[in-house]
Amino acid sequence: MEQNTSSEEIEAKVPENSVQFLSFTLGDEEYGVTILSVQEIRSWEPVSKIPNVPNYEKGVVNLRGAIVPIIDLRERFNLEHSEYTSLTVVVVLQAVCRGKNRTMGVVVDSVSNVMNIQKENIQSAPDFGTKVSTEFINGIASVDNRMVMLLDVEKLLKLDGLEEGETEEDEE
C-alpha cells in the first residue's frame, strides 16, 4: 500500500519517455516489473497449500480478506529452489486479465530498488529459440551496466493455468 502512494509521489518527478520499474533479484539475475502493477511488498509467511497444482504454485494466503495465490518465481523460471527465510520477500502484483482485476503474490529473493528506465533504452528480449523460454520477458534494459529483465505482469498472472479455469467457467 505504502509503495503505491510513494510511487505516485515519485512519478510526478519522472521525466517523460521513461518508465518506472521495481527491480528484484532471483539468484544472480535481476528482474523488473512496472511499478504500477505492484500493490505491496510483504515478507514471506506460511501459505495454505493447494492440492494437485504445479510445484511453483505455493498456495494461497489471506490478504486482508482476499484469497491470493503465491507463486515462487524461482521455481516458475526453473531456477534452483532456495529455502524461505524471514528475509524472503513477496511482491504482490496486480493486473487486469479479461476485464477482471487479479492479484497475485510472487516470491523473490530480494527487492533491489525503483529505477527510471528510458523507453528507448528498452530492447526486445533476445530469442534463444526453444532453449530458454522468454515468454514472460517483455524486454531487456541495462541499468548501471547490469542487465535487467523486464517482466510482463499480465502474462505472468495469466499463464498460471488461469486460462484453464476461465474456459471451464465459460463452458458452464
Binding site: 506460511p46 501459505v47 497449500k49 492440492p51 494437485n52 482476499a66 484469497i67 495465490p69 479455469g165
Partner: protein, 686 residues
Amino acid sequence: MSIDMAQFHQVFFEESFEGLAVMESGLLNLDMGDVDSEEINTIFRAAHSIKGGSGTFGFNAVADFTHLMETLLDEMRDGRRQVTQAAVDVLLGSVDCLTEMLTAIQAEDELDEGSVNNHKKALEVELNGESATETPVEVVPIASAPIATESDAERGWKIAFCPHTDLLKTGNDPVRMFRELAELGNLDVFVDMQGVPSLVDLNPEDCHLSWTLLLKGDIERSDIDDIFDWVEDECDLSILPLTEEVELETIIEIAEAETAAKATPVESVKVVAAETVKTDNAETKAASTKAKKPKAATSSSIRVDTSKIDTLINMVGELVITQSMLSLVGEHFSIDKVDQLKTGLIQLERHTRELQESVMNIRMMPISFVFSRFPRLAHDLSSKLDKKIELKLVGEHTEVDKTVVELISDPLVHLVRNSLDHGIEMPADRVAAGKPETGTVTLEAYHRGGNIVIEVKDDGKGLDKESLRKKAVEKGLIEESTILTDKQTYELIFMAGFSTAEQLTDVSGRGVGMDVVRRNIQALGGTIEIISELGVGSTMAIHLPLTLAILDGQSIAVGDATYIVPLGSIVESVKITDDMVNRVAGKGETFRLRNEYLPIVRMHEIFHVESAKATNLMEGLLVVVEGQGVRCGLFVDDLLGQQQVVIKSLEANYRRVEGVSSATILGDGSVALILDIPGLVRLSNQ
C-alpha cells in the same frame, strides 16, 4: 402448506412504490416527438412487476387495474399505438390511482371504488380508440396528474431562481439555461446582484447572483422542469404560473425594490421561494423524482429488522463493558488478577463471536424467504389454468446474501410462472404423453463450486427449438439464415420482445419477463442456463456467485492441513476396523456401512498431503459424506470442530481447483479450503 403471506406484504408495498416511482418518472420523461422504446420498456417492466406481485398476494383489484395499463403500454412499446400526451396523462392518472389503491390496501382501508372505476374507464377508452366522445369527460377526473392541470389555463410562468454559491462548480451554466428557456417563449430576466461581494472578496468561481424570470407563452411546466432538472438540488427554485398581469407587475416591483434596498436581499428572495414552494408542492415532488433519476438506478440500502439492530447495539454495549473491565485489570495488574483476566478474555471472545454472527446475520437470510411466496402462486395459477401442479421446494435453508434475496425474487416469479403456464401441459395432454397427470415444478437451491445454484425445474413439454427459431425470425430478431446452436436457440427467449405464447394471458407471455430475468441475474454477477428436452421438461439454472455466503462447516485435519467439509453433506463419522474394509480389484477400497458398500477416499492421497498418522485406516476417521447423489467415506486424521465459515472465492484471483469448491479464512487468519464432495469423488476415480 400454509404460509403467512402477510409477512411479505411490507416488501411488496415497498417494491411496488418503488415501481410506481419509476413509472411516474418514466412517464414524465417521455418525449412525445421522439419516443425512446427503452423508456417505455422500463415503465412496462415496473407495471409488470406490480401486476405480478399483486397477483401473488391476492390483491386482484390492483392486478386487474395494472393489467389494463400494461396492455396499453405493451401496444405503445410495440409501436402499434402512437404515444400521445392524452394517453400519457391517462397513464399518469392511473399511476396516482394505483398509489392510492396500494396505500389503501396497506392501511387496510376501503378502496375508493368510484375513482378506480373512473380511471379504469379512462384506460379502456384509451385502449379502444380515441374516437369515443366521452374521452374528454373521462380524462378530466385525472386532473390530479401534474401535466394536465397546467396545459391550457395558464399563459406564463414566474420563476424565482436563486442558485447556491457553488452552482458553477458543478458545471451548470445559468446563461445556457436561460437560453433554453428563451427558446420556449418570451423571456424576461431580472437579475439580483445584491449578493455580489466587493471585488477584493470576490471568488470568481462562486455564483452570487439570483434571478427572477418571467416566461410568457403557452409552455408546459415539464419543459421548464427539464431545464432546471440538473440544478434542482443546488438552488432555491420556485416556479409559479402567471395568472394575472397584476401579479406580474408586483413581482417586477419586488425585484426592483430588492435591487434598491441594499439590506438582506438574498433572504427575501428565499422567503418568496419558500412561500411559493408550499403552493406547488405536487409539482416539485414530481420534479424531484426526476432529479433523482441520473443517480444510481437501484438503491443499495437493505432493510433490516430493528430487533436485529437492537441485538447488535446490546452486544456492542457488552463489548464496551468487557473492554473497560479488561483495561481496569490491566491498569493495576498483579498476579492474583490472572483469573479475572482470563474470564474477561473469555467474555471478549464470546462477545466478538456473537457480534460477528449478528453482523453476518444482517446480510444473510435463507432463500426460503423467496421460496415461500411460491406455493400460493402455484396454487392460484393451477386453478386458474386448470392444471394439476405440484410445487416442490428443496434446499430452502440455503443462506444467501440479502441483495440476492431481494433481486432474485422477481426473476424467480417470472421463471416459475413460465414453468407453470408454458411448461406444464394440460392434464389431458400429459396423460396422452404418458406422463403422470400432475405436473411437478421443483424449486431447488444449493451451493456448488463457489456458486449458489437456484433451479426451476419442470417436467412439462420442454422448449421447442424449431418454433423458437421460427418465432425469432418472424419477430425480426434473427435472420432466416442465422445458424444457431441449441444453446443459442434457447438464449433467444431472453431477448426483449420475444414471446412464444400464442395468446396473451395475464399470467405470462408478453415477452418481457425473460429479458428482465436475465438482466437482474446479470446485475448480481450471475448467469442463467437453460437445459431442456422436448417432451421431457426444462430446467432453468441460475448460478450466482456467493461472495458473502456463509456455510456451516466441519473442519477436518489431514496432516498439517485443515479443510472444511460442508456440514450439510456429512452423513456421519465412523471409526472402522480392518475387517470392515473390502478391496475391489485389489486396489479400490470399500467399506460396508449398514448394507451399503461405500468407496473410501483417502484424503492425504488424493491431495498429496504428507500425513504421519493416518495411513492405517484404524487410526484415522471415516467421514461419510454425500453430494449430488454420491456417497463415500473420506478418510481423515481427525475432526477438529464445527464452525460457520465465510465463503471466499478461490477463482477471483486464482483458479478452480478440482475437489475444492472455495476457500475460507479461519480464526487465526490462515486460509482453509472448502471441499467439494462430488469433485472429490471424481478426483479419486481418476
